[in-house]
Amino acid sequence: MKGLFILSGLGILAMLAEIFKFKKVLYPLVLIGIIVAYALGFTEWNANFNIPMFSNMIRFDNVALAFSGVILATSFFWFILANDYFEKDHITDHFALVLFALVGALMLTAFSNMTTLFLGIEILSIPMYVLAASRKRDLASNEAGFKYLIMGSFASGFLLFGIALIYGATGSFDLMAIRAYISHNGSELPAFFYAGVLLVLVAMLFKVSAAPFHFWAPDVYEGSPTVITALMSTIVKTAAFAAFMRLFLVTFGGVNETWGMILSVVIALSLVVSNITAAAQQSVKRMLAYSSISHAAFMLMAILANNRGMASVSAILYYSLAYSIGSIAAFTVVYHVSKEENGSSNLEAFNGLAKRHPLMAVCMTVAMLSLAGIPVTSGFFAKYFVFSLLIGTSFNWLIILAILTSAVGVYYYFKVIIAMYFKAPAKHDGITIDSSHAVLLLLTTLITIALGLVPNFVIEIFG
């Protein structure tokens, strides 16, 4: 809760920096602010569990705090990665927009009312539309921002329509009241309530970019500046899943027959479409976009196993943490390689990276292994926990499909590793990177391995 206020305040402070000319100290100030927000989260742990705030509009329970922790930690790493981004034009605007997006992300972890859900999604999305288009002279970036805006507004329309129908049936925006309504008259819910749930499902599937609502994702991910792509695939994704989980695992858990089968088809489609298309990509950035669709499918699998209670929640928490940290490492390397190659992130650009910058090659290898789900890295355990949730349910076939498509995933992740180690580089001069980025790479790589060694640290966080 306090983190939310601190980030809002920082966002407003960032805009004042333009007027009162303290742009230089803004960057360290934001980093300190995020650390403080993170630390204050610890003081709230268990403290106000289940105490509704503001007439039950928002509820920072332990689940919300854990997901905010993931978001804040990732955003700290992201700000280190993005230090170049804040050295060009519109510094204060960029800071303000990113911080406001973080406010929206934190709201999505903790909402307990449909109005706060909608506001959270919009506060997260609108800065993202602008940031996607923030490289104004680049046509691809403009296209990305425009496409994201049009498609995102369309999805918001679906969300509002769904919320309206649910309100019509239950007479309340409150998640607890909706949940009570479902369990109270379970068998005789009006038909339009189900229609409302399905419309909300469509909107949320769009926000997490699951197939067949994924068409925007590759273009937007490729067109946006690389650091913004990193923000989208980590923080936006984590926040969207926290919201998805709160809605479908908790609130609509009672009507899972309605959305369960549809969700399983969506997951199967996402797994097949994303992995097969990713294998055919030449651009690593685009490949990571498709891989994010396949990771979304894995996290949806944990939501599908909705009778496992807190086990599902901690599996999603672990998955989003592992995926975010791995992605930050991968995007740091992609950022430097594409900067070297004048913006191109084609596979050839990675040729012989091991000779040009051994540290980046090692860290990229660990990140790729983690995203592919090879043991010892955290990515393996993330997938393992998801599978263990679904085993024994009627969705066993999804596990088999997921393992088969993961094998395809190994192929395209290893294409990058092979290019780095076994292909001759086009240029032989070394690449220099900031020392802060070198530290960031080392840190994210260590966390990826450490999370794989002691997964219980996260899995048993809810006791």
């Binding site: 966002g11 007439s55 509009m57 034009d89 303000a96 706060t116 609108i126 007479g171």
Partner: protein, 176 residues
């Protein structure tokens, strides 16, 4: 009249007009006409708000949407000189698929809302509900948090619009 009350007649006529104008927004090929039909649709919806005792909302709806936003819309269309029928025709396959998907959604909505008129009202409305006084009371008590956090939303939209819209320094200016 025919067993219906005045309110029911008004509701029927307004709904029919709203749907008709909304369809015209989509089917007209001239963007200016399209916007004008959208204004008419907004007026019909404002009529619905009045029937629901939401007088304040109806007025705000007309002032903000039909007034401010639609005028902005028209300005942009005229500035960009879009008033000719410039929209390219989509391929027939695209149109058939889009029609099918839209039709399925319509089918679901009609099916879902069929029979809904027999349901008990979950929340009865009071005749005072649309007054500014009551609206303000709800906004500053129950909906205080969303009301305040909406300012962040507006602020980020504002910052974003300025960032996108601001003229970049040209190469010569940077050189100086």
């Amino acid at each position: 009249m025919l067993g219906y009350t005045i309110t029911q007649w008004l509701f029927g006529v307004l709904s029919l007009m709203a749907i008709m104008f909304a369809l015209m927004v989509v089917f007209t090929r001239n963007p200016v006409n399209s916007v004008l039909y959208l204004v008419l649709t907004f007026f019909c919806i404002a009529g619905h708000y009045l029937l629901l005792n939401a007088q304040f909302l109806a007025v705000v709806h007309i002032v903000v949407y039909a007034g401010a936003i639609m005028v902005l819309f028209l300005f942009i269309i005229m500035l960009m000189n879009l008033n000719a029928d410039t929209e390219p025709r989509k391929h027939i396959v695209t149109r058939v698929i889009a029609g099918c998907i839209g039709g399925v959604l319509l089918f679901v909505m009609v099916g879902a809302l069929k029979g809904a008129e027999q349901l008990q009202l979950v929340q009865g409305g009071s005749s005072q509900i649309g007054l500014v006084k009551n609206l303000g009371k709800v906004l500053f008590t129950e909906f205080l948090f969303p009301f305040e956090i909406a300012s962040i939303l507006l602020l980020s939209a504002l910052v974003g619009a300025i960032m996108i819209g601001k003229r970049e320094k040209t190469v010569e200016e940077i050189g100086n």
